[in-house]
Symmetry: C2
Subunit: 487 residues, 2 copies
């Protein structure tokens, strides 16, 4: 598939900050200089330019296909929520009230009731659920929306990682029993884990949130947590068990098989454009973006190298190379206004996974020089079987990016057994696993003494709680918690 250029000729002049020493500045430089995103005239909201939107579309389509295969259907509800609905579930509105954007006027009229720009859609969807669901035959009902939400936070905005508007999926399921509802958890988290790995080359830590950190209105929250190169942690996709909290507030009942009326059991789940920020922060380097191949708008950039004498023959060879790898997303750069070296830099800044250099030697030898963005390594490849070989290279780049990120995460995950070690270990960043009794008061002590929050209780670490003592109170540990400084 040939891909339009938009190579960002109009973009910035490269990156001056270093990832290792000035992560925050490097992060925003890499995002904007590469043309991946841009700031907007709305404070705290950003523009997803074609490369970032393409990456989001790729993630969305992959997740959506797996959702559909699992029996989930898409729908679309209004984006403005009447205030009385938003207020129906107490914990929920308490969690959101500080950051709701309110529509109060339309045209030249003042509205009788304020409308919330959706921060999430429980309260506009569930009155419809109450109407649609009559008996166990209507269940499960598993609907999903792909949309935008607005959360007007007053904290410092960080592009993609914390913005006042973002894109996401919001899944809202209803089941006839708590058991069936619970069974959805592994299916959904499994879908997210798979797409994070196969498309964004991102590892994560799945686990249950502590009660103090769960979603507003949920009974239990489960999250996938990411470690950024800065040593700070950020929450990724999540799945929430709402039990009967919302069904009671919104009167979502059904006739069960025994003929009795019962409140339904609900879950919600989401993945958002925040993941694009995690992806860029994780893989990119001081030369610019490093795009995982299966979310990259351009997978292969062909840069012909010629003088005025052999421009025609080499361009035409470059075009024939492009023709032979059409199933990949490829762009051939024949712009004479820029030198090959300038183009190399440009595609490195944009993070294009593979660059093909094509000069006289390549044309004569029916070959190409293949340069990988992730490692910088160069290799000669024959034109014969090139499409297959490059596809393997793309897979290998994704694998390598994932392995690198996983090894960084593993190297920055430490297990401690005392408050002192916990405090000390937190200073070097990363996940610090500590045994915990389960008491919210102890969790609060950690936060107060160290400034670190509990991220989640990793599934993989719970086996280590046995026989251990809570790092705060010394009582028997019931869980292992991942503490970290977080965004």
């Amino acid at each position: 598939m040939a891909t339009e250029s938009n190579t960002g000729r109009e973009k910035g002049l490269g990156i001056t900050a270093k990832k290792e020493t000035d992560f925050s500045e490097w992060y925003t430089q890499v995002l904007t200089s590469s043309g991946f995103i841009d700031y907007s005239d709305v404070s705290g909201a950003i523009v997803l330019r074609p490369d970032s939107y393409f990456a989001w579309e790729s993630v969305q389509r992959a997740v959506d296909a797996l959702f559909k295969r699992d029996g989930i259907q898409n729908a679309c509800f209004p984006s403005l929520i009447p205030e009385k609905l938003l207020n129906k579930e107490e914990e929920h509105i308490a969690g959101f009230s500080a950051e709701v954007a309110w529509v109060t006027e339309a045209g030249s009229s003042k509205l009788e009731e304020r409308l919330a720009v959706r921060p999430t859609s429980e309260t506009i969807m569930y009155p419809s659920y109450a109407k649609w669901i009559r008996s166990w035959r209507d269940l499960p009902m598993r609907l999903n929306q792909w949309n935008n939400v607005v959360r007007w936070e007053f904290k410092h905005a960080v592009p993609l990682l914390r913005t006042r508007e973002f894109l996401w999926n919001e899944g809202h399921s209803v089941f006839a029993t708590q058991q069936e509802a619970d069974a959805e958890r592994d299916a959904i988290l499994g879908i997210y884990v798979r797409v994070l790995k196969d498309y964004m080359a991102l590892p994560c830590v799945p686990g249950r949130k502590t009660d103090s950190e769960k979603f507003a209105g949920a009974v239990a929250s489960y999250s996938l947590e990411h470690l950024l190169p800065s040593g700070k942690v950020i929450q990724g996709p999540a799945w929430h068990s709402d039990g009967q909290n919302f069904s009671k507030a919104f009167d979502i009942t059904f006739l069960n098989k025994a003929g009795a009326r019962e409140y339904a059991y609900q879950n919600t789940y989401a993945i958002s454009t925040r993941e694009l920020g995690v992806m860029v922060a994780t893989h990119s380097d001081n030369k610019g973006l490093v795009m995982p191949p299966f979310v990259s708008r351009i997978q292969v950039a062909i840069v012909p190298i010629y003088g005025s004498a052999d421009r025609d023959s080499i361009s035409s060879y470059a075009k024939s190379v492009e023709d032979s790898i059409k199933r990949l997303r490829v762009h051939t750069d024949l712009d004479d206004a820029y030198s090959p070296g300038w183009k190399f830099n440009q595609y490195e800044l944009m993070g294009v996974p593979i660059r093909l250099e094509i000069g006289r030697r390549e044309a004569e030898g029916h070959s190409v020089t293949v340069v990988r963005r992730d490692t910088g390594t160069k290799a000669k490849m024959s034109l014969e079987g090139l499409e297959g070989a490059l596809t393997e290279t793309l897979v290998s780049i994704n694998d390598n990016l994932y392995a690198r990120a996983l090894s960084f995460m593993d190297a920055n995950t430490r297990f401690v057994e005392s408050m002192d070690s916990l405090a000390k270990s937190l200073e070097s960043g990363g996940f610090v696993q500590a045994p915990w009794c389960g008491d919210a008061a102890c969790e609060a002590v950690v936060k107060e003494k160290t400034g670190a929050k509990s991220t989640n209780m990793p599934f993989s670490a719970q086996g280590r709680a046995g026989g251990k003592k809570c790092v705060v109170c010394g009582k028997d540990a019931r869980h292992v918690v991942n503490f970290a400084r977080s965004y």
Copy 2:
């Protein structure tokens, strides 16, 4: 591909109004009883339930693939627009000010500047364009968004056809010359016409809007107009030439090849969820929806017919039929709580294009009975080659729906040459083509005397203007206008 049921067991009890005698009531009954859409707690906004959202997704993917092939890229801009930006282009804001929903508060704070919930995105996109575009090398820039917009109209809402919120694409292109900009028109309108025909089985009338009816801020608007069975006309997808109107208001300039700074030339274009309403109104009947096959979530419903003795053998034959046509979207209904007759009605209400009836005779004969939703005709088909045969039937259903709609449109398009005939002809509904001198005053006279608006000047009818006189003033006609009563 197997498809989850959501067959709408919880839905309404069928349709009592008749399409022929009570179109408006029939239209809302068919939309809601079938479970296609539902009303919401937000006045004037609706819920797209899975079947309608699936149809929109199908249209969106088809259009999006053709856009990408034409070199258009997707992006995403903020949904809230600062008031000062919205006010930058005078005609534009004049066209929208009466229906803008305003965010004035966030959390417990009053905002310093009001934010418009986007009614369309020119004014939030073009400041970025001004920043990104520097020279002719950056052009053309052709970006598109798939999103939702809010227009808080105070007129009577009609589900899908006129709602306060809808989904659409909004394409925003920038070119270096007016000529290149103009060349985009046929490409975009061609994409819309093709998807309307191949996916929604909808004909339309392409043509130029008169100046009084063009988009707020445009130099010229081109539209695809639809005739509904009620005899009233509604505007479909449109493409607008903005010339330099917005580039001057937003300072979008570029260095041209001669090295001079010049204002850029812009276009915009859109297709919206309104088309779903046109589709339902056009094809459906007094039994319920009639879904064009390539936007239908379920394409084939299998209804087994069995007694208690042969339930197992017939169900298992039905499942083997399903397995043999997996490339279609098929649902096998094994719910014992409902009779086959009830299920027939239900799938007719939902508009499923093909129903397969499978009983003892079919099982024994390795065959199926195929019932078409559009014609009600029954045919026996062999299991061998069934997938291909059903695919042909789906194409034939789409063709038939299109041909039927086209023939209705042709039968209700009349050419007149006097004001009297125009007024009289308008009473029977449909498109009435009349020669026009081009003077807005004459157009206004028609509106005043007949209540009918000019819809557009059909490309196909312009040849008839030659030698004719304006039906209002009697001067030489320069155009042929389609007048109609419209939504």
